[in-house]
């Protein structure tokens, strides 16, 4: 027996609900249902600049890249020399300051890794990652 076209559509559309609902129940606590998960860790260049002297800029790139150009006043803090660089950062940090970590561009991972280590290991609050990274800064400051 071949079902009519309409019935075929309904059957397919309907059957797909079963595993979908099952999965949704499984993920009910893991998914954010009403708003996109807020990546509160990202900050735009405009916002970060707005913090003025309160911002503490951290460059998560390899040392050579930092040496050839970095955000004025930014300190180097990368994973290669984390143990020697971190104390210097902590020495100038204070609780009111907002940390802005950047690496080369949108897709690089180093800034997120450094930001996460600052949150987890040093238990610092107000750690942000610059959206767009060093590329974004250069576009705004040619």
């Amino acid at each position: 027996m071949r079902l009519s076209f309409a019935r075929q559509l309904l059957l397919l559309l309907g059957l797909a609900f079963l595993p979908a609902i099952g999965q949704a129940i499984y993920y009910r606590n893991a998914a954010s249902w009403h708003q996109p998960p807020v990546d509160s860790a990202l900050v735009s260049l405009a916002q970060a600049k707005g913090w003025g002297a309160n911002a503490l800029w951290l460059d998560a790139r390899p040392e050579e890249q930092y040496a050839s150009g970095h955000v004025p006043g930014a300190m180097l803090l990368n994973e290669d020399r984390w143990n020697t660089l971190l104390p210097e950062v902590l020495a100038v940090w204070s609780p009111e300051r907002k940390l802005v970590v950047y690496c080369s561009q949108v897709t690089c991972n180093a800034s997120h890794a450094v930001a996460e280590r600052l949150r987890q290991e040093a238990q610092l609050k107000n750690v942000y990652v610059l959206q767009g990274g060093w590329e974004e800064w250069k576009k705004a400051n040619p």
Binding site: L3, L12, P19, Q23, W33, P37
Partner: protein, 158 residues
């Protein structure tokens, strides 16, 4: 076989047409397999898929996240239907519809300048450049349209 049911008047077919039938069946199988594959890749991480849908900025998050749970399974089901040649017309229509919507959304997003990581093939798709993605998607759509216009499983002509 369902083909002979759909062509109600044409019980006897010239033998030379059989190769075309085999090719059409193989095409349906291939396309179905691609959909099953793509669907499973997306079903593995629905929250990630929801984020990718959201990147197109076409629908609100609350709708997109629910679609992210539903669409992959619809794809898998339709893919299986194409492979096993059951509910064929319905599956064909749904997959064609999905492809059209998806290609349109991709082109729209590109025109808006949105930088997309295509969600269609999950992490396997990370290897493909955007041009190749579009080529594969257009190829799939072409195959689907072909099957739709000429293939078995059409409504019986009455």
């Amino acid at each position: 076989m369902e083909e002979s049911e759909s062509m109600t008047g044409a019980e006897v077919r010239p033998a030379g047409r059989d190769w075309l039938l085999i090719v059409r069946r193989m095409l349906a199988f291939l396309v179905g397999a691609v959909f099953v594959y793509a669907g499973i890749l997306k079903a593995r991480d629905p929250v990630q898929f929801a984020t990718e849908i959201n990147n197109y900025r076409l629908i609100p998050w609350s709708i997109g996240v629910r679609m992210a749970f539903y669409l992959p399974w619809l794809e898998v089901l339709c893919g299986l239907a194409l492979i096993f040649h059951r509910l064929f017309a319905g599956a064909l229509a749904l997959t064609t519809g999905l492809m059209v919507v998806f290609i349109a959304a991709t082109v729209w997003a590109r025109l808006q300048g949105i930088d997309l990581a295509c969600g269609c093939f999950g992490s396997a798709g990370a290897n493909l450049t955007p041009a190749w993605h579009l080529a594969i998607d257009t190829g799939l759509l072409a195959a689907l349209l072909y099957l739709w216009l000429r293939g078995p499983g059409r409504r019986p002509r009455s």
